[in-house]
């Protein structure tokens, strides 16, 4: 290392013109740097949220915890109350969602690559959909947020600190709900949705067990444990996702209503959604 340093020092003095070009004596440099910084600030949330008149609400939880059902119901309720709602979920970016789909289908992807592709998908949606919606005063309901991405990558052995620092640039939600269900319940609900358990739901890439049920339970247990830790650390509101849908929904409405100052929390789903009402 010291040898390297010496060599570096030897050549250090040579290209004077390089240095002047870099330092840009006419002040053009500071202008361009400011522009670059401004550009990032346009896309990215700063800690100053005053320009965001909307509200970001996140539902987190394992597979089969009822997030999507609750989001559908909450959307209808909030819209009936006169709030404009935008939803988001993972793997929905125009930029990269399809590519993640095909990677998952091939199962040839490595863990850092997958984590970073999900991060790309997340920030593409954040900068191009969520922030504009929040600026225009909408309620954004997120079916999963970057917490899921941290949890999934963490059980695959990526460092927590590494993952959290990637999402340092993301916008923290106004409200985060964690729908907590046991893996056995997740399994039953997922099986009702589709007739077979998928490779990824069972965390098959982790080689936890050759038995698909065991693999599913082990994987979902690991995921849930990570979620519980995150929920504690970040102060999520944990709800018992095993309760009937209408009970969970009433709880969510109560808390969201109190946050937004909505007085009337009574709600009955329309004909279109009544099948969700159990």
């Amino acid at each position: 290392m010291s040898e390297l340093g010496k060599r570096a020092a030897e050549t250090e003095s040579e290209p004077e013109s390089v240095r002047s070009a870099a330092a840009s004596p006419n002040g053009a440099d500071s202008w361009t740097t400011d522009t670059a910084a401004a550009r990032v600030a346009v896309g990215l949330p700063t800690r100053d949220r005053s320009e965001l008149s909307g509200h970001l609400m996140v539902l987190e939880g394992t597979d089969g915890s009822g997030r999507s059902t609750q989001i559908a119901l909450l959307t209808e309720w909030l819209e009936s109350q006169g709030f404009a709602v935008q939803t988001m979920g993972l793997r929905r970016s125009f930029l990269i969602a399809k590519d993640i789909d095909s990677l998952l289908a091939k199962n040839s992807v490595t863990r850092y690559t997958l984590a970073l592709m999900y991060a790309t998908d997340f920030f593409d949606q954040l900068e191009n959909r969520i922030l504009p919606a929040l600026r225009s005063g909408m309620i954004v309901l997120a079916d999963r947020y970057y917490y899921t991405l941290i949890v999934r990558a963490a059980v695959r052995g990526l460092d927590h600190d590494y993952l959290h620092r990637i999402y340092d640039l993301a916008l923290p939600p106004d409200l985060t709900f964690f729908l907590n269900v046991r893996p056995q319940i997740s399994f039953e609900r997922e099986f009702q949705k589709s007739p077979a358990i998928s490779f990824w739901e069972a965390g098959r890439d982790l080689h936890l067990s050759d038995d698909l049920y065991d693999s599913f339970i082990s994987y979902q247990t690991m995921i849930r444990k990570e979620f519980v830790a995150l929920a504690k650390h970040h102060g999520f509101t944990t709800l018992n996702g095993e309760n009937p849908i209408r009970t969970v929904n009433a709880d969510l409405r109560k808390r969201i209503a109190s946050y937004l100052g909505i007085k009337n929390i009574r709600y009955k789903p329309s004909h279109a959604l009544v099948h969700l009402w159990q």
Partner: protein
């Protein structure tokens, strides 16, 4: 049937071990060239590769271009100008991770002398110039091994620009840094963007132990120095084929 709890704990333990590898978990060596476009780095790495191959060393060359996995997304993003500084950075980080996990690290583990045309410092310089926070960028690539030697080819901005523009007149949108709004003229934008990138590189000479190479010196002279440095830092006989 094993109880889930046991499986989980065992799995968590292996994962923990895997997450924190020893400082140098490989027998190979990594030589990197860095510098802005037109600094002469690729030519020099090519000559180094020739020397090592003819000498009978186990050598592998890798460069920073899109891996097939991430290619279509990168192309879509670039073609339609969809990328922000953050997503530009992340999509390239995913691309790098794919190449790192499937190519660079396995090659290092199997005892190759890996020659890389651009490495993580390219992201620090280029994405930093785009305005991404330096600490955030450093974290993104924190898992990547530190090279045995990093050559930094430094040429005056005017020289580098002249070299690029004489060979390839059409500049691409992101390549020219047009997304930063530095100028509506691609050449002017490119020049400014390269200047910002160059400034970032210059800041890393000390912090990242770059071996500084004056890109204006004759090719042959630079190559001689490169070979001397490589020979001085890496025990080349370890990489002889058939030993």
């Amino acid at each position: 049937m094993s109880t889930p709890g046991v499986t989980v704990e065992a799995a968590a333990k292996t994962e923990e071990k895997r997450a924190k590898p020893p400082a140098r978990p490989y027998s190979g060596a990594l030589v990197v060239v860095e510098g802005i476009d037109g600094s002469g780095k690729s030519t020099q790495l090519h000559l180094l590769k020739r020397w090592l191959e003819v000498g009978g060393y186990k050598t592998y060359f890798t460069e920073w271009n899109s891996s097939p996995l991430v290619k279509s997304a990168t192309r879509r993003g670039k073609k339609r100008h969809l990328l922000t500084p953050v997503t530009f950075s992340l999509i390239h980080a995913a691309d790098f991770a794919d190449r790192y996990e499937r190519q660079i690290l396995p090659l290092l583990r199997s005892g190759h002398l890996v020659l890389a045309d651009r490495y993580i410092y390219t992201a620090f310089a280029r994405d930093g110039a785009r305005g991404c926070p330096v600490e955030w960028l450093r974290n993104l690539y924190q898992y990547a091994v530190i090279p045995d030697v990093t050559f930094y080819f430094r040429a005056p901005l005017e020289v580098a620009i002249r070299r690029i523009l004489s060979g390839r007149p059409r500049l691409k949108y992101y390549e020219a840094g047009m997304d930063l709004g530095l100028s509506l003229d691609p050449i002017e934008s490119f020049t400014k963007f390269q200047g910002l990138t160059l400034a970032r590189y210059n800041q890393m000479v000390q912090t990242d132990n770059f071996v500084l190479m004056d890109g204006t010196l004759p090719v042959h002279q630079l190559q001689q120095k490169m070979r001397d440095v490589v020979g001085g830092h890496i025990e080349l006989k370890r990489f002889k084929n058939g030993t």
